[in-house]
């Protein structure tokens, strides 16, 4: 016999299957309880959205091939969607974009700055993600331009910090940044 008789399923695959199934089952249970007890208040939607956030974060974290700066960018996107949904569910006032988003961007910039200082040799790997953070922070200009939110100090601060952080990193690690851009954009 040259093949094993017992084929073991991979532990992570089993974990993902159980985890995915649990998320679906819990979501259904929450929906049913919500509609049976308080059909006028959609609290279950908020819970499901939070569950989805946890689910996506865990799924992304399992993949060890991604670097930490990628994780930060994914967190910005997921948190923004989650917070926007909460804002929308409790009667949209725009705080998710005008307050929460700039705070998330400022915190992520601080994290990226610390990462660059600690691990400046690998800055090249963070470069693209830092560029994405700048673009995300600049996206708030679009919301202001469309009149969805009004300009405030927090938004301006977040944009300035993003650009400043990016420029400082660029000046310090220009060669690595250029190299990373060439790799990522190879045609």
């Amino acid at each position: 016999m040259i093949y094993p008789k017992k084929i073991s399923s991979k532990k992570i695959d089993t974990f993902i299957k159980i985890f995915s199934l649990s998320v679906v089952v819990i979501s259904i249970i929450l929906l049913v309880i919500n509609y049976l007890t308080t059909p006028n208040i959609y609290w279950s939607h908020l819970c499901i959205c939070s569950l989805l956030y946890i689910y996506l974060t865990v799924r992304y974290s399992i993949n060890r091939t991604r670097n930490i700066s990628g994780f930060i960018v994914v967190q910005i996107i997921l948190l923004t969607v989650l917070i926007y949904f909460i804002d929308y569910q409790i009667g949209y006032t725009g705080w998710s974009i005008s307050v929460a988003l700039p705070i998330i961007i400022i915190i992520s910039n601080i994290t990226m700055f610390i990462l660059t200082i600690i691990n400046y040799k690998n800055y090249g790997k963070y470069a693209i993600n830092q560029l994405i953070i700048v673009l995300l922070s600049l996206s708030t200009i679009y919301f202001i331009h469309k009149g969805i939110i009004s300009s405030n100090t927090l938004i301006k601060t977040s944009i300035i910090i993003s650009i400043f952080n990016f420029l400082v990193s660029l000046i310090l690690c220009y060669k690595d940044f250029k190299e990373e851009i060439i790799r990522k954009t190879n045609i």
Partner: protein, 441 residues
């Protein structure tokens, strides 16, 4: 193509390799496997050292796959390669979590060492060179006395990672293919992602005699037997009439290094398609004549250049290149699902596995396997080691009628065949020898 930085190196994927990460999925792994069955049990610690040593020599394999904005690319992998005991069906998708990001995976089971390689890394030829190095290293570490007696010169490795497609393609070459859809093998599929494996250990002397009878090469003869088996054991079994049936199309990968100058360790292969219409399949003799003429017509440098140039043109197309990777993945997957319908089965013959001198004493035989998938539910491969041609069926079909017919046919031609399998399905040995002899008459 290798670009140097002060930290680590990276390189673009070759023209063929670009497509694999875009089209692969859990059910379409584009992974192939080499195995060697030794005459003794495997020592894991020694095997780990053998792999590490091989990676020092073949740096082209010490890489991981990274996402770019437009294409994937390969970057140097500083992690240690993992060696595990075999615990899954062969040729499954290589999960970077379990392989420390490497695009190959080394496993062992009792007397057998396996290497599974994602096609983006290299083709069957490059894979065999690397695998042989691991086997040599393992035997040298395990049996130190070999080193004294045997002179395996550690020659400077001259292989490179150039994209030989780009180096050799011709802008003006054009392929005039009428591309008809192929007959798709019918039958229930195995459950739980199982893969059935049947290795036919064929006596090379008997097989050569048979090939001489028909004035054919081994690949041509085995392709003919394969078509004959599909016709009898799948088409006739599953359909009432053969009228308007699509042709049996057998894809035969071709090593382009035989036609063009190249020392690359990256992919450099093409393929020919042997398209047998139903009226060709009425007798084995007719099939042999047809297969021979197809090989003569299609297996030429000019034809290879046409096929290769067509693929390069697509890979180099600026419009396709400039589509962002995520979008490209969706497009390529849907296009690929259609393209796959133009082939019934693939048969890849890697040829002779050459092992020098005393090392042979420790080796029983080699195996070569390729991954079956949703459309091509069976894939066939073969390699030759000393006096054995090892023909392998990897299948996701819940029956082994084609394998059994193939085996019985060879036996009916007085070719000695032994069978090894992973016992997912019943054994193919025994049974219908007489029926097949009669059909052949």
């Amino acid at each position: 193509m290798s670009k140097k930085t002060n930290k680590n190196t990276w390189r673009k994927l070759d023209n063929s390799a670009k497509i694999f990460p875009l089209s692969e999925s859990k059910k379409y792994s584009t992974v192939f496997r080499y195995s060697v069955v030794l005459k003794e049990d495997i020592d894991k610690a020694v095997l780990e050292k053998a792999v590490e040593k091989a990676l020092l020599r073949y740096k082209a394999f010490k890489v991981k796959l990274k996402r770019g904005i437009f294409w994937y690319y390969l970057e140097q992998n500083l992690k240690k390669a993992i060696v595990r005991e075999e615990s899954d069906y062969p040729c499954k998708r290589i999960d970077p979590i379990y392989s420390n990001d490497y695009l190959f995976s080394v496993t062992y089971f009792e007397r057998k060492i396996n290497i599974e390689i994602f096609h983006s890394l290299t083709d069957g030829n490059g894979g065999l060179i690397f695998f042989r190095e691991i086997v040599y290293n393992y035997l040298e570490m395990k049996h130190k006395e070999l080193l004294d007696k045997e002179e395996r010169k550690t020659r400077k490795v001259e292989f490179d990672t150039e994209d030989s497609y780009i180096a050799n393609f011709n802008k003006k070459s054009k392929k005039n293919d009428e591309n008809k859809k192929a007959y798709i093998l019918k039958g229930k599929e195995l459950k739980f992602n199982q893969v059935s494996v049947n290795h036919l250990l064929i006596n090379n002397y008997d097989l050569k005699n048979e090939c001489t009878k028909y004035d054919m090469s081994t690949t041509q003869y085995l392709t003919s037997v394969l078509i004959w088996s599909i016709y009898n054991a799948n088409i006739l079994k599953n359909t009432k009439t053969i009228k308007n049936k699509k042709p049996i199309k057998v894809c035969i990968p071709v090593n382009l290094k035989k036609y063009f100058r190249s020392k690359t360790m990256s992919n450099f292969f093409s393929y020919i398609s042997v398209d047998a219409e139903m009226d060709t399949c009425v007798s084995f003799e007719k099939i042999t004549l047809f297969v021979k003429s197809e090989f003569e017509k299609k297996l030429t440098e000019e034809e290879m250049l046409k096929t290769m140039s067509d693929t390069v043109k697509i890979g180099k197309n600026l419009f396709i290149s400039s589509i962002p990777l995520s979008l490209k993945k969706i497009i390529i997957r849907s296009v690929y699902a259609e393209i796959q319908k133009h082939l019934s089965i693939t048969y890849s013959n890697i040829g002779k596995v050459g092992i020098i001198g005393k090392y042979q004493d420790y080796i029983d035989y080699f195996l070569f396997l390729i991954a079956p998938e949703n459309i091509e539910k069976i894939k066939c491969s073969s390699c030759t080691y000393l006096d054995k041609v090892i023909f392998t069926f990897t299948s996701i079909l819940n029956d082994n009628d084609i394998e059994r017919f193939f085996y019985n046919f060879l036996r009916s031609q007085n070719v000695k065949v032994e069978v090894e399998s992973n016992e997912i399905l019943d054994s193919i040995e025994g049974g219908e020898k007489n029926d097949i002899s009669q059909k052949n008459k």
